[in-house]
Symmetry: C2
């Protein structure tokens, strides 16, 4: 919801996907209330949303990721890019949200890459943005995020597309983090941040320091 709100504000055309088309439409209306009447946002059942899109952002709990991707295999358009933000939190199987599960493929993003149709590129990103901060309603304050987004993909074009999308969120710098296999580290950083949030009652994010300016552009 927070990502959709930010991209709606940035003028992107957005389709929210849900198992239930009506719920998706309701969610789209909620976002329109925040983003303004001109927001280009609608809601559809997941398969219809995939069929209508060439850039997909998957933000589901890990325990639902594989099943959903299998269901959507025929709906996802070849040539599209799927951005995966899934984190394999142990909370998904009754464990702690500050711990991760081991994923056979190495990361949830690599599991996604195995499950999408041929010709679909996967990028991993957006794991570490606080939902609370993305949804923040500080109408007077500065609602920019103090957080970087690291993007990992085996397809340089998917990395560039994802970085451009990340940079549309005020405050966010998008950094090329290399191959998709590195997503395992991004996913675990989320568990670390959740642990820090519980311990310190915050909305933790990360900034990468010490890289040359062009790495952040």
């Amino acid at each position: 919801m927070g990502l959709a709100l930010r991209w709606a504000r940035a003028g992107e055309t957005i389709i929210l996907g849900s198992r239930d088309a009506q719920r998706a439409q309701q969610a789209a209306e909620e976002i329109r209330k925040k983003a303004g009447a001109g927001a280009n946002i609608t809601g559809m059942e997941n398969s219809a949303a995939c069929a209508a899109s060439d850039l997909l952002v998957l933000t589901v709990p890990f325990e639902g990721q594989a099943t959903l991707l299998k269901q959507l295999k025929t709906a996802i358009r070849p040539g599209s890019v799927l951005i995966d933000a899934t984190v394999p939190l142990a909370a998904g199987v009754g464990g702690r949200a500050s711990r991760t599960l081991g994923v056979w493929q190495g990361s949830a993003a690599q599991q996604a890459a195995e499950l999408v149709p041929k010709g679909v590129s996967v990028a991993a990103a957006f794991h570490n943005l606080s939902a609370d901060l993305l949804n923040s309603e500080q109408s007077n304050g500065d609602d920019s995020l103090d957080c970087d987004v690291i993007v990992c993909s085996d397809d340089p074009a998917a990395t560039q597309l994802t970085r451009a999308l990340a940079a549309k969120i005020p405050g966010v710098r998008a950094i090329d983090g290399g191959k998709l296999e590195n997503a395992r580290i991004l996913e675990q950083i989320t568990a670390l941040l959740i642990g820090l949030n519980i311990r310190h009652k915050g909305h933790g994010g990360i900034r990468i320091t010490g890289l040359p300016p062009q790495a952040y552009e």
Copy 2:
């Protein structure tokens, strides 16, 4: 070397350990040249260094960590604290420095905890500070580091001691990262930063954003 330099400048009493006492003494002299004649730094063979210390900082390649800790088991004083900064990089077995090895105990720090004598607390920290930046000789510029140190330990006293030591490095904020098991994430962040450094030609570090001020104090 960089950590010793920073702590020598902060007025700490430092003993460098090495397999070879003479090499340790030479390294201590090198640091004294940078830190000033008043620096309280000496060099000793590893066992002697352990016997003379109550706070140990282990900064060795992963492939030497377990062997060294077994050798030093009788030399490490009960009641002392061992800060482990070991990162299980795949480079240690001929792989890439941007990848890590799986460690049976969960992390190199937990392996260390298994190998120290009873009564010795282990804290994990300092994995992600750039050696180049720690050793930086910018005599006119600001040589503070733009990086946070996350400290993980099962012993709150060891966490506090380690945080206090980290805070002696200009620019560094020390954050309680919870239990020692979380060290696995700190270790992997180093591999991510090494990958970013290779890709972007930088000296990457991390800052944790979004926590309340007391988390950084």
